[in-house]
Every structure is written in structure tokens, then in C-alpha cells.
Amino acid sequence: MTNVIEQLGAWAILRVREMGRMLLFLLSACAWLVRPPFRFYQIIKQLHFIGYKSTFVVVLTAGFTGMVLALQGYYSLRKFGSEGLLGSAVALSMIRELGPVLAALMVTARAGSAMTAEIGIMRITEQIDALDTMAINPLQYLIAPKLVAGVIGVPLLVAIFDVVGIYGGYLVGVDLLGVSEGAYWNSIESAVEWKDVYGGILKSVSFGVIVSWVCSYKGFYTRHSAEGLGRATTEAVVLASVLILVWDYFLTSVLL
């Protein structure tokens, strides 16, 4: 019994220590953001990697999400004779929830895992130590640009997701299922408010931080082995995804 309690205690201490180290990692990287030299080229490069290169997968996901939302929504709304509200149902779901969450999850799976692997390999092959020996802070050079790129890139991708998703819903709802085009767009115009949009923006900005932070952290502290790198990549994706969902709940409860 004592052994079990001891192990539980040791596990809890390890987890708390890990959380503390993660937070210090984020705070240190943020502190380096406001100190020169400012790495604009690195930020652009990361924006290209996190943002531009995730566009295709985000567009694909958004299109089919909008389409399936319209399909499901139509048959539910038809029971109440409210097919005309399909546009607002699709748009509000996209803008408030599905856009930020699904776009962030796609970015985590694509760019986040690659980020962890890239930084992890740099750790294993001593490239991060090489930066240290050159008196260049790895947090400033490697991590801070990724944080900025996440904060800028994810909201832009979410915006694309929302637009494509609404059009996906239009394709199925109007073209396939015969909902009135006017009713579709009018319901969006009357239902969507500015607070829905800035709520989505707030979520997407915070999700951008989570993806870059968690995935960079896991890569930065990878253990020196192929197995360690594999584990770090898996943990990064899982932890970032779970944090996105948990934080989404808390943010939604505050915003509503």
C-alpha cells in the first residue's frame, strides 16, 4: 500500500514539475519576443510552414465539414419546417466552434508533429547545443518565431476554414437539397453577430499558441533516441489536441 502511494506521489510530483517547466518554457520564449534581434525572416519562414502549407488540408477538412453539417442539419431542421435556417446553423457552428477547433487540430496533426520532429532531431544531433555554444539563445532563434507564426497563422487558417465550410454547406444545402439560396444567406446575415466572430478569433489565437508551445516544448526536451523522438511527437500531438479541446470548453463557457 505504501509503495502504491509512493509511486502515485512520485508520478504527481513529476507531472507538476513538467507543467512548471512547460510554463517557464512559454514565458521565456515570450520574453525573448520583445528583445532584439527580431527575427522577421524566421517568422515569415515559420508562417509559410505553419500557415501556407496547412492551407490545403484545412480547405479539404472545411469543405467536407461544411457539407456534412449541411446534410445532417437539413434533415433535422426539416422536421420542424425550418430548412431556411440551415445557413445560420452551418455558419454559427463553423464560426463559433468547428472552425477554430478543427483547423487547430489539423494544424497540430500536420505542422505541430513536424515541428516536434524538427526540433527533436536538432536536439538529438546537438544542433541546439551548437546554437548555445555560439551564444545564440535557442528559445529566441527557434521557438519565439514559431509562437508568433502560430498566433498569426492559425487565425488566418480558421478564417479560411469558416469561409470554405460555409460554402461547403451552401453546395449541399442549396445545390443538392434545394434550400432557397436567399434563405441560406439571409439566415447567416441575421444570425451571425460580431461576438461570434471575435469569439472565434480569440479561440484561434489561443489555439495557435497552444499548438506552437506544446509541439516546440516536446521537441526541445526530446530524449536522445529514435524512440524518444517518436514518443515526443506522439505526446505533442495528443497533448496539444487535448489542451485545445479543454481550453475550448473553458473559453466557450466564459464567452457565452
Binding site: 534581434p37 546537438e126 544542433q127 551548437a130 555554444t133
Partner: protein, 251 residues
Amino acid sequence: MIRLIGVEKKFGDQPVLQGIDLSIPVGKLTTIIGGSGSGKSVLLKHMIGLLQPDRGEVWVGDVEISRLSGTRLNDVRKRFAMLFQGAALFDSLSVFENVAFPLREKLRMKGPAVTRRVEEKLEEVGLAGMGHKFPAELSGGMRKRAGLARALIMEPEIILFDEPTTGLDPLLAKSIHDLIVTMQRRFGFTGVMVSHEIPEIFTISDWVAMLQKGKIVLMATAAEFQRTTDPEIHEFISVGGTVALPGSLVG
């Protein structure tokens, strides 16, 4: 220039360094030898502050670095360069960009001045015309040369070499050793090398120190070292330094 006084270091319950007292002569090439897993790389990393000792002091000139961090440690590191075991070239940058990296980042140099210095350095290490290649396209020996060019580009006072010839065939290893010696003689930096290459290190090093059971058991000029009558040290250097000594780390 570099002094370690009573340095101790443990990883978990495993003691690695158990009271290192070592002074590195200025302007000379000192090689540290010892069995596999004896802590040679750990010792090297203490000299540049990549690791901090559990006890003891590490002096670089008149600055004690073992408790330094941030800007103050970076100020000391500006005197150093390091050639890592795998060269640690940045994968996403070409050879040219790797060698130019310290010039651009630390001196904020740009344009033709950078190109001129990098091309000169690449020629000195035998990589002329290879600047456009990426690390993945290079052989092991070429990567080491590129790493050496990057280490030399800032003309540092001190260069640390972590097993610069590990994994290379004997001819390539000799060419890297010859390059290190030539550069050291030309630029006069203080060199500290960790190596397994016995007996070659006795022909290129000014001083040799042996790490055994977490302590420096002998430090002497290369010639004096070879004349040691200590039976364990003599056996080690006679069989080429490939035998793991008692008390060394496993893995």
C-alpha cells in the same frame, strides 16, 4: 585559460566526474583520453557551460562560469567555438549558410564580406565549391570539415573538439587531425580535444590528459605521457585506448 577545480558531476545516482582538477595550457592543443563512457564529453561540455557541475569550479580566464547563465554566460561563450561529434550542422541551411551563420548572427555582417570570408574558410578546409550543398548531401568527413570551418570562421580563442574523427576511416581521420593541427598552428587558438585515436593523438597534441574513474590521473606533454610507468595507463595507450576501464559508464 581554462581551469577546472574539484569538479564533480552525477547523472541520477551515477557519478561521472569525481573531483576533476585540470588546467588547460593557453595556445596549445590538449587532448583528453579515457575509456569509453568515462565522461570525456561531459568534461568538455563543462568547459563551455553546456553542463553545470554539482560541485567545484570552472574558470575561463578570470570568470567562474559554473553558476553563470544568460547574457553573462553568452559573453564568455563568445570566446569559444565547438566542433561536435556529428558536426551539428544545421540541416535546413547549406554549407555556405552554416559557415556564414556566426558571421551573420553575431557580427551582423552582410553581403560580399561574408561571401569572401566563407569562401576562404571553405578553401582552407578543402571544401571549395561545396557551399551550395546541404549537410545531408555530404560524407561524414566533409561534414566534419564544414563544422570545422564554422568553428574557425570567428577566429575564436578556444576551440573544443568532441571526438572529431569518430566514425571516419583511418585516412580521413588523419586528414581531419592534420587539418586541426594546421589550423591550430596557423591561428594559435587554445584547443581541447576529446579523442580515442591512439597513438595518433600523441603526434598531434602538445599535452595529453587521461580521465579515469572520474578523475584526471595524468596530464603531461605528449612525449612524457608515452613514457609513463603507470601500468594501467601504459596498458590503455598500448592497446589503442579501446578497452573500457573499470568504473566507466555503460551506455
